[in-house]
Every structure is written in structure tokens, then in C-alpha cells.
Amino acid sequence: MTSAIREAFPVLGRAGFHYLDSAAMAQTPGRVVEVVAAHDLAARANVHRGLHEMARLADDAYDAAREAVAGFLGAGADEVVFTGGCTLALNIAARALAGRLGPGDTVAVSRLEHHSSCLPWLALAAERGFELRWLAVTADGRLDPAGLSVIDRRCKVVAVTHASNVTGAVTDIPLVAGVAHAAGAVLVVDGAQMAPHGKVDPRALGADFYAFSGHKTYGPTGVGVLWGRREVLAELPPALFGGGMVGEVSDTGFTWAEPPRRFEAGTPPVAQAVGLAAALDWMAGLDWPAVRARLALLTRRMLDGLTALPGVGIVGPGEMEARLPVVSFTVAGCHPHDLSHLLAGRGVAVRGGHHCAQPLMRVLGLDEGCVRASLAAYSDAADVEALLDGVAAAIAVLR
């Protein structure tokens, strides 16, 4: 099965190449690249603005892409906002909600968050005068359910990741949603790490907003998705202003377009959205229970193999329950940057550093960051063994 999946990714045919940095950016199937190129060669036009043939083709392709994303999320197309990426999606959600926030209010953000999910709220807290409260994590890098007690009636927004980009821990979103909604708060979920691992139903999870990126979901760069619960989107103002998001413009003001276009100011990422739809179509053809089972075995092997090496500590859960195939680790006496560079020299692509998660690094006591190896549907046993051999060799070089 794995070889059939890998064949869809031309880059994986390179000898001696082991890509374990999929949490930063997944590789993309050749088919996706072809679809994007075909769109730009045959239907390159702005959308929802023109009446010519090319514009009609572009409209059809863009609208179909929105339908495809809606299908992936079990949602309505009117709830799907295309953005330039997950970071922009989360910023749009924050900006749209900003008018509801002020002194006396709180926003609760978990310490697991990627900077793209916490910095918009830190910036808004300074601007709007509300209090930002951090949701605690456990020592093994999971959201601590006991910490949800800081969500009270003053809390207007809760922002959590569906899965940590560092520890791989999957958050119990329905639990958080129950607490958030009981307090009357809106729940914003960062799905960047979860979406690459199969279909997601944000409405069923209890989210009010759910964001993910194209490039981590086997699709192009420069495209992301903000899903918003229909009834929430309908009440919010636009976050960005420009073409496409207005109704009528007078000398003194303007009316807003209906969602989702209210939140898509300017020319959207048309070809990239079409490519994302192709990527989701490719994902839909996979046997996800089998993929997840295989990746779980590889993750277990990574955890066991790494902990058998001298001085290695796992950053994240040691057990397989509710975790993604994302394994971060430290090696005593070896800086993550040096380890990552030595692994790169052996063709093993990993990420070393703070992973855009400095609040988490700080609370876990990881001043120098950690190394992260992350798998995707195309990862195989050879990738994992190359990682383990490479880490052992790197330790020998550095000590």
C-alpha cells in the first residue's frame, strides 16, 4: 500500500531521501502540481468579477474547490472561506471577533499553540485591553483538562489546537467546546496538524471556527481555509477590506457581502484553491484506517527506537492514544540544530528549533528547543530506520 501512495509523489523517488518534516510542509502529489498548472494554462482569470469565457471557467473551478473543501469538512460551502494560509485564517478569525472584546473580558489560549494561533490574541489583548489567560499543559505535552477551569463567564473566546505541532498530542475538542460554550465563549480551533490525517467534521467537534492550511494537507502553498459556523459568520464583520467583500459602496460607507465572500477581500488564491481541492481528492482515495494504523506502528517504532538511544528524551506523550505521528525529542548534550544538520547530511529531513511554539518550549523547559520528526501518509519504515540510524550517528559525532 505504501509504495502505491509513494508513487504519487515524484520527489519521494530520490534515492536516499527520507522526508520526516511533513508537519512543516507535506510533499504534494504530482497530480496536484498538474492540476494547478492546467488551471493557470487554461482558466487563469479573476473570479466572481468577469463575464468572459476564462472568467466563467475560473468561477466554476473556484466554486468547485469550495465545494470540495466543504465535503472534506462535512460543511456547507457557505461556511468555507479561502485564505492565503492557516495563519491568515486564524488572524481573520481573531480580527473578526475583535469588536466583541474589551476590558473585563478574557480570551483563553492553550500553551500548546503555534505562534499563528496565540500571537493574534496576544496582539489583540494589548490593543483591546482584555486579559489573555493561558490554558495549562501536562508534563507530556497535552492540554490539561484541569486548566480549563480558567474559562469562566468573562471568557469570550477559547483558542486551542486540534493537535500540537510539537508533541503530536490530539486535543479533546468536544471537551473544550463544552466548557467554552457553557461559558458563552466562541471556540477557535487550529486544525493545521490534524487536517493532513483525514476528514474532519468541525461542527460535530463543537468548533465555531476551524482553520487549516493547504501546504500541510498535500496541497499548494499560499492557500488555507477558515471554516466558520454559518450562524457565527453571519454575525461577524469583515476582517479585511477590498474587492469582492462588499455589496454597495457609497461616499460614506459600504455594505458587506454575505459569507463566505465577506471574509475574502481581494483576489483569492484561485489556482491554489483548485490545487487544494485536487489534494483533498487524492486524500479521499486513501484507506485512512489502514494509513493511520500503519503510521501508528511507525510512530511506536520511532518512540521505542529513540528512547533506546543514550540521552534521548521524548517531548510529548509516550503512549499512542490520541496522538499524531509527530515525535519530538531532545538529546542530552546535543543541540537540536546540530542534530538536524547532521541528519540532513544523511538525507534525513527533520526540523530542529522551537517550532514556532515558544510558550510551550518555555513551560516544558526546552530552552534550546527540540528535534521533530513528523510522518505523513507516504512515510515508510525506511524513513524511520534512517532517522534512528542517523540520530545514533549524530550523537557519536557530537559527543
Partner: protein, 134 residues
Amino acid sequence: MSADLYGQAIKDLAAAETARLDSPDASATLDNPLCGDKVTLDVRLADDGRVAETGGAVKGCLLCKAAAAVLAERAPGLGADDAAALAADVAAMLKQGAEPPFPALAAFVPVRGHKSRHGCVLLPFKVLAKALGR
């Protein structure tokens, strides 16, 4: 080969102990947000305004620590202009293939081919220039 960067000379340099100075005349900190390296340098100045002694704290990779150790040996006697020129010379060594400005830096010549690591070596030299007002 990445392993070529980690010769015994580099590892020995990186093992050097560093400590902050009490009541320094100047201090500066710079970090490299991409990799997390962070260098703080304290400087005690002589009467002529040149560096008499340095101390500091290095939170960084092996290359960064080794570069900081080389700098600590070289810094006494340098003025602000000298520090800025030295940082430029180290950059030229790494990015343009220039000769090492002094023999101890020859250990870093293999870093030339690894653009992503230039910043690790340069960071301590930039910090000294910053501490001296450049």
C-alpha cells in the same frame, strides 16, 4: 558532509566555559529566531575605550559556542570599529570565500558550504559589535 563541521577543534572550542561579568561596562544580546541561538556578551573596557575583558552566556548550537570562544580570545584590545570590521571579515570568510581574518577562525572554513549555519558563527561577532555601539 555535515559531519565535517564538527571536528575536534570545534568541539574543544565549544566546550570552553563562559560566565557573565559583574558590572560590565557594556552588554548586548542578539538571537537567531530561526534556530534559537541566543548570545549575551558582557564587555569591560580599558581606559582607552578598547575591550579589556569579555564574558557572557551562549545558548546555542555547537558552532555558535565555538565561535563565541574564539571571539573571547580575540576581543581584548579591539575597539568599536575593529569589532565591526571583524564581524564583516567573518561574514566575508563565510559568504565570499575570503581568507580567515586570523588563524583560529580557520576551523570554521568548512561552514562556508552550509549557508543555513553562517548565522550561527556570525552571531557572537555581531553581538560584540552591538555591545560596542556598532
